[in-house]
């Protein structure tokens, strides 16, 4: 019985965790993109440099959701098991 509860909790928690991570990551990505585009609009001659830094920032923000995703994959086998 205890084990079944654990599995139920896991089945609810994994998608929820991804969703929460995606919310945070999405806010971060949006802010990064906003900042980058504003900077590029203000200084088009520096667009290449800003773009590089922006992609790096995007990669770091997005990585957080990916960590949640990887965690989900590590744990998802235990839902049915």
């Amino acid at each position: 019985m205890g084990f079944a509860n654990f599995q139920t909790a896991l089945a609810y928690a994994l998608p929820l965790g991804i969703g929460l991570a995606a919310i945070g990551s999405g806010i971060g990505l949006g802010l990064t993109g906003k900042g980058g585009l504003e900077a590029m609009g203000r200084q088009p001659e520096a667009a290449a440099k800003i773009q590089t830094a922006m992609i790096l920032g995007l990669a770091f923000s997005e990585a957080l959701t990916i960590y949640a995703f990887v965690t989900m994959f590590i744990l998802s086998g235990k839902i049915s098991g």
Binding site: T52, I55, L56, A59, E62, Y67, F69, S76, I79, S80
Partner: protein, 471 residues
């Protein structure tokens, strides 16, 4: 001058022997397909039973009749040096068209093994594509934009059609498929337990060559080499990516023309772009690292895109591959740090580059943090690539499965290509993830370089104060 003469002579020579496009081509295709059908059918009759062979022959015959009809129609409407006969052509269309399609429908409804039938239908297209590809490769004057585009469209259609087919043994209806097509092809028959095994793992996955290989041996004892291939599939696919890159770029680098053409041109443009992009980040003294970073990026992008090609698998869907790549970057960065800074300078870097007493005091705290930060880099690098590519491939597999499920009720062996929009997304993501991996490696190298590290620190400080002021 010499090179132009050299290039022009064989081209002029070849023009004389160019096969004329048109009826000749179609007639030869018909003959080749007929021969191929006979050979394949006799092989299938032995290995898969007479029903499968019969289905192949009927399917191929229908397809050939279709092509012959079209050829007759075109001949009626626009003959060479003869009078057009539109009435006869329309009569042909009116009489033979419905008859042909009714025959096709009857074939499909006859209960013959559907995969073999459809294979027979597709045989003529395969022959046409192969012939066109051969002509395109051997006759430069055929390499017009139109033929290139047509080949591209055909390749895309083949890729889209071939990808969903295998997944009809997807978990949801594995048993159903197994029941319905017991006498079907070996792959379909035996993919069911494979799919069931996949279901236990949780994530849907597109089947690849190795999956088929194992499916062919399902229920029997696997020979040693099949087990070996399965255990090492990621490594083997990674090797394949490397071999493809080596062959393509080796070919591109071979001519060494002063004015590049074709492949050499494309490769030079690609490498020129990568060179300028990474040099902008590394600074002028970073030129020595560009070959490493550019090869890393091309290798990763190639491996990412392999997941979209039917029968192949992206090795980056395994954490082992991506961690190996990140480990290579990690070791290389440490090597650069030690050789460029000296061992003391290297340790000084990890202590946060203290200059005064306060700095040395802080170094006690900073040193473990910097070490942790350095060790976490390969982990984050590999997890990012792994998660992105795995997620993308699962997305494709889910939509392929969906496309297969929508056509399940008509027992269609191929599904709707619902994954089409996500193929474009995957192309973009594969490129961006390769770029991000290479970009982060570049940044790690820059942070290790003695001069730029100081510079970077300074800029970081300025940035920190600026953002603090903004808040």
């Amino acid at each position: 001058m010499n090179t132009t003469d050299h290039g022009a002579a064989p081209r002029a020579d070849r023009k004389g022997t160019t096969p004329p496009m048109g009826f000749d081509f179609v007639a030869r295709t018909l003959r080749a397909t007929g021969l191929l059908t006979i050979v394949l059918a006799s092989a299938l009759a032995v290995y898969a039973g007479p029903r499968v062979a019969l289905a192949l022959v009927l399917g191929s015959a229908w397809s050939l009749a279709n092509l012959a009809l079209w050829m007759a129609l075109v001949r009626c409407l626009s003959p060479r040096g003869k009078v057009a006969e539109p009435v006869r052509g329309l009569a042909l269309l009116a009489v033979k068209g419905p008859l042909l399609y009714a025959a096709g429908w009857l074939l499909l409804a006859s209960g013959l093994p559907a995969p073999a039938l459809l294979f027979g239908f597709g045989l003529v297209f395969a022959v046409v594509t192969a012939r066109a590809l051969g002509l395109w490769l051997t006759h430069p004057e055929w390499r017009t934009r139109a033929t290139g585009r047509a080949l591209g469209v055909l390749a895309l259609a083949l890729a889209l059609g071939a990808a969903p087919g295998p997944v009809r043994a997807a978990p949801a209806h594995a048993s159903h498929v197994a029941k319905a097509h017991v006498a079907a092809t070996a792959a379909a028959e035996t993919a069911a337990p494979e799919a069931a095994a996949k279901q236990e793992e949780g994530a849907p996955e597109l089947p690849n060559l190795v999956t088929y290989l194992r499916a062919a041996y399902a229920g029997k004892t696997e020979p040693g080499w099949v087990k070996f291939v399965h255990d090492w599939e990621n490594v083997l696919f990674a090797f394949l990516a490397a071999v493809v890159l080596i062959v393509v770029f080796g070919q591109a680098a071979k001519p060494k023309r002063l004015v590049p053409q074709g492949m050499q041109n494309a490769a030079e443009a690609l490498f020129g772009g990568l060179h300028d992009f990474f040099l902008g980040i590394l600074g002028p003294e970073g030129k020595a690292y560009i070959p490493f970073i550019a090869s890393l990026m091309l290798y990763i992008v190639t491996m990412n895109w392999m997941g979209m090609i039917p029968f192949l698998k992206s090795p980056n869907t395994s954490l082992n591959t991506t961690f190996a790549l990140a480990l290579v970057v990690f070791v290389y960065v440490q090597y650069i740090g030690i050789t460029k800074n000296g061992i003391l300078g290297y340790l000084h870097h990890f202590a946060g580059q203290p200059k005064d007493a306060l700095g040395w005091g802080a170094a006690v705290l900073l040193f473990p943090l910097e070490i942790m930060g350095e060790l976490i880099k390969p982990v984050s690098l590999s997890c990012r690539l792994f998660g992105n590519i795995l997620g993308e491939d699962i997305l494709l597999a889910v939509f392929v499965g969906l496309g297969v499920t929508t056509l399940k009720f008509v027992h269609s062996p191929i599904g709707l290509p619902l994954q089409l929009p996500f193929l474009f997304l995957s192309t973009l993501f594969g490129l961006i993830q390769g770029l991000v991996f290479a970009l982060l490696s570049t940044v790690y190298i820059v942070m290790m370089l003695p001069h730029d590290d100081h510079h970077g620190d300074h800029a970081g400080d300025a940035h920190a104060t600026a953002s603090a002021g903004a808040h």
